[in-house]
């Protein structure tokens, strides 16, 4: 009787491609939501300051601005690496070397850790500023 065969790493990596693209789309959605939040709070503050400050001044002095910028850099960095791994998995054929995919995998996780640490640092600074007001 034939032994049941477990899927190879190639098959698993190919099946990951859809999720990687899905997560990239969600990253864009998160960034759009944060941008919307920045615009909404700026619009809200515009009503408070009336004509004393320009919309650009209010936008630049928005407390969420550093988080928005930090997350923009982090999202771009991680999104690029996610798409690189998705591209590598798309090109995989059974038996071909896994090294290019492995390098994209390592590069993704290193970038992901750096991006999250950067984001946590920005959120922590924002939280500290808020708690001192």
């Amino acid at each position: 009787m034939d032994k049941p065969t477990t899927p190879s790493p190639w098959a698993h990596l190919r099946r990951t491609r859809g999720a990687l693209i899905g997560v990239t789309v969600l990253l864009v959605l998160w960034f759009v939501l944060l941008t919307f939040l920045i615009c909404a709070t700026t619009w809200h503050a515009k009503g408070i300051y009336a004509d004393r400050k320009s919309i650009l001044q209010i936008f630049l002095s928005n407390g969420l601005m550093p988080i928005w910028l930090g997350s923009g850099v982090a999202h771009y960095h991680v999104g690029r690496k996610l798409l690189r791994l998705a591209r590598q998995t798309n090109e995989l054929q059974d038996g071909t070397p896994l090294r290019p995919a492995g390098e994209a995998f390592s590069s993704l996780w290193k970038a992901n850790l750096r991006a999250h640490l950067l984001l946590f640092a920005f959120v922590f600074v924002y939280w500290m500023i808020l708690s001192q007001r």
Binding site: T6, P9, H12, V23, L26, H116
Partner: protein
């Protein structure tokens, strides 16, 4: 046409390329797991200590109860998702034998991470709307 299996050196070379990610992957996995554990504990304890009405008799208490329950369930799901990533990191030991299972866990992580991200996005929107409705108007 017959396909020859890849040589042993190539297997080891492939597995070592994945091994380079182990430290970053495990750091992020433990960070995520810890964060979701803290979130589940914080919201469950907060709900219990602040005395939210679990009978959900009033409309406002019902919405708060629903949001708290959803956050707790999402946190538990997040813990499970990051546990998959921890398992994946543990399996990345530089040998080609454990690579298929590690990649299976990695696939499971990304599949469920996209669902988790969507849930968190929804909860964030609901939470913000709930918070905006209940917060007082800012002073001039």
């Amino acid at each position: 046409m017959t396909m020859h299996p890849p040589p042993v050196d190539q297997h080891r070379d492939d597995a070592e390329a994945f091994l380079a990610a182990r430290r970053s992957l495990l750091t992020l996995a433990f960070l995520g797991f810890g964060m979701f554990t803290a979130m589940a504990a914080f919201f469950a304890l907060g709900a219990a200590m602040q005395g939210y009405e679990w009978s959900c008799g009033l409309p406002k208490a019902a919405s708060a109860c629903l949001v708290f329950t959803m956050v707790c369930l999402t946190s538990l799901y997040g813990m499970w998702v990051f546990a998959q990533l921890i398992r994946c990191g543990m399996l990345l030991d530089g040998s080609s034998r454990s690579l298929p299972e590690a990649m299976d866990r990695h696939r499971a992580f990304w599949t469920h991470a996209s669902i988790l991200s969507l849930l968190c996005l929804g909860l964030f929107i609901v939470w913000s709307a709930h918070d905006l409705q209940s917060s007082p108007a800012p002073r001039r």
